[in-house]
């Protein structure tokens, strides 16, 4: 098991900053979900964790030690797109992995491939996108590594195999492995991850355990008769994380006293006031605010 420390990493491609001062600590043995919209810097972060890119600054450490070639004996990686060799068969990929990693269990890989309905005799070019992803996941899991880094491991898979991959991740976690993964399927992340980090434009937008992030956070929503009601009184209330206005609808994101805020909205003339529990999707969407700016947004109100 490895504790992964990502410390203020920075990476730019020309004038484009892919990752900007991103730090996070991933405790050993946890399932860690990395969320973010397209282009948020998730894949760059994974590549930084594996030394596949040269960083402009910062460092990544495994149990306090920098990444060295021997560390890869303990890390398995599944990239977001297929990196398998089209001209090779799946069986040859098994031989390739066995020749490189001591801990690889070919029998386990074959069993997993059977579960994914992948024929090992086939050449990779004959496999669908989902089957390629499944093959990469099977090869990674069969390595019995301490750390699994999975970039969109359910991409292209049908719902049955998506569930199968999630179960594999949970099983691997139960074995004690540290799992870091990204996915656009927030429901999957909510199901599997114990901790999450949300990236937005290369920066850390939010980080914590799923329970902590969800606990106590509620949306208080009300509909006003007009869209010009003043929200000034909420802007400096430290109990509110955010105030949104979308036409006549006002939403308050609060960590506490949701009932009191609901009463205040009713007192201001709002109708249909309700208190909604936040799910991970709401948390994610609030963290990556620019996509939601359909109305006045007052962050950190």
């Amino acid at each position: 098991m490895s504790t992964i420390t990502i410390d203020r990493i920075r990476k730019s491609y020309g004038s484009y900053t892919a990752v900007d001062d991103f730090s996070v600590e991933i405790p050993a043995g946890t399932v860690f979900g990395l969320l973010g919209p397209n282009g948020a810097g998730k894949t760059t972060t994974f590549k930084a964790m594996l030394g596949l890119i040269r960083l402009d600054g910062g460092s990544v450490r495994y149990d306090g030690k920098p990444l060295v070639p021997a560390t890869f004996e303990r890390i398995a990686y599944v990239p977001e797109r297929s990196v398998l060799y089209d001209w090779m068969t799946v069986t040859e990929h098994i031989h390739m992995t066995r020749s490189a990693f001591k801990g690889f269990v070919p029998k386990m890989a074959l069993e997993l491939l059977t579960q994914f309905n992948v024929d090992p005799r086939k050449r990779v070019r004959q496999l669908s996108k989902g089957m390629r992803t499944a093959t990469m996941v099977a090869l990674a899991v069969a390595r019995q590594a301490d750390t699994l880094i999975l970039d969109e491991p359910t991409s292209g898979l049908d719902p049955i195999n998506q569930r199968h991959v999630l179960n594999l991740m949970i099983n691997e976690s139960a074995r004690g492995a540290t799992i870091v993964f990204s996915s656009h399927q927030i429901g999957q992340v909510e199901r599997a991850a114990e901790r999450i980090a949300v990236m937005d434009r290369g920066k850390l937008a939010l980080e914590g355990t799923v329970d902590d992030l969800k606990y106590g956070r509620k949306i208080v929503e009300g509909i006003f008769p007009t869209s010009d009601v003043s929200l000034e009184e909420f802007h400096h209330d430290t109990r509110l994380l955010r105030v949104d206005r979308d036409g006549r609808i006002v939403r308050l994101l609060t960590k506490e006293d949701a009932t009191a805020f609901a009463a205040r909205l009713e007192g201001m003339g709002a109708s249909g006031v309700r208190i909604v529990d936040l799910n991970l999707e709401d948390i994610f969407l609030y963290a990556v605010s620019p996509a939601l700016q359909t109305a006045d947004v007052v962050e950190g109100a």
Binding site: L50, L52, R54, P69, A70, V83, M88, S99, F101
Partner: protein, 341 residues
Amino acid sequence: MVYVQWLRVRNVLKFTGIIFGCIFALALVLHFALARFGSYDAMINGISLDPGTTTQHVLLFDGTKRTILDNAKDHTHVVIDDHGYAGKQVTITEPSSRQRATHEHVTMGSVSVISSRNGKTATTVIDTNAPTDFRIYIAFAVTVAFILATILGAPFARENDGHLEIALTKPIARVPLALQMMAVDAIGIIGGFVLAIVAFIAINTIFQVPHIVVGGDSLLVFASGMVLTLAWYACLAAASASLRRGYGAVLGFAWPVALAVALLALLPLGGSLLGEALHGIFRVLAFFDPLSYASFSAGNVSPDTQTLSAGATIATRLPYTTILLILYTALAVIQWRRVEA
């Protein structure tokens, strides 16, 4: 660690073997299909079947079976010395229509034909056991190995093209991994080199068991051919090491460019200042062009045509090509060390 390289090498050698197998089969078919039409055996059979021909068989003291065919009417006299595995020597003396004295010597593999005419008599001496210089086989093998080196010549670019996540997450540092990859390809190229020599000898044997003469410098020529081919491979690897795509163009254009540099370094480009300058540039470029060293001449090269690369002898060119091999290997590895996924 380098399983993929082994697979690539295996596939290339398998393909090469299949091509040689096809050529061998074709040669076999040609041998049986054409033998009775144009060979000296057919000609001798024709003479022996003539009613006016007398045939005499003699066993010489050294085991040679001598057959003498004599046709007094046609003034034709044939002596066939069959040395068994050491081949045959056939001497045919017959009338000639041309009066002018001539002397011609043609060699094809181990078959040597000497034709001479003097007065009204023509003499043809066919020796099926003429010595064949081993360097001919090496030259053929180098050509084949150059092609294989070109096919395998972009080991790093192939990984850069969508497979770096596999290559660079192995528990081995990049430099030893890169050297291992190149070493596997080198083994494949040398394997192809040896395969080509064996195939050439086998194909030659279909027509006649070759009498190969291995000269004193054959080992040097062999080593020089191998190092030259590996230098070419390393040159291509260095030229493509940092590419993700488009390495096919590098491999495709490498031959014409390298040949052009080698030729332009040798050819004078006119007496003008520009011509002299270009010639000078190409002479320097040729020093870095492995194809410029592709000569098996053991003799001296005229100072007029000598380039930096085309040093006087193989012995002097070998160190140059070895330096190129090391230089290009280092360049390829240094570039690949810096590649990002």
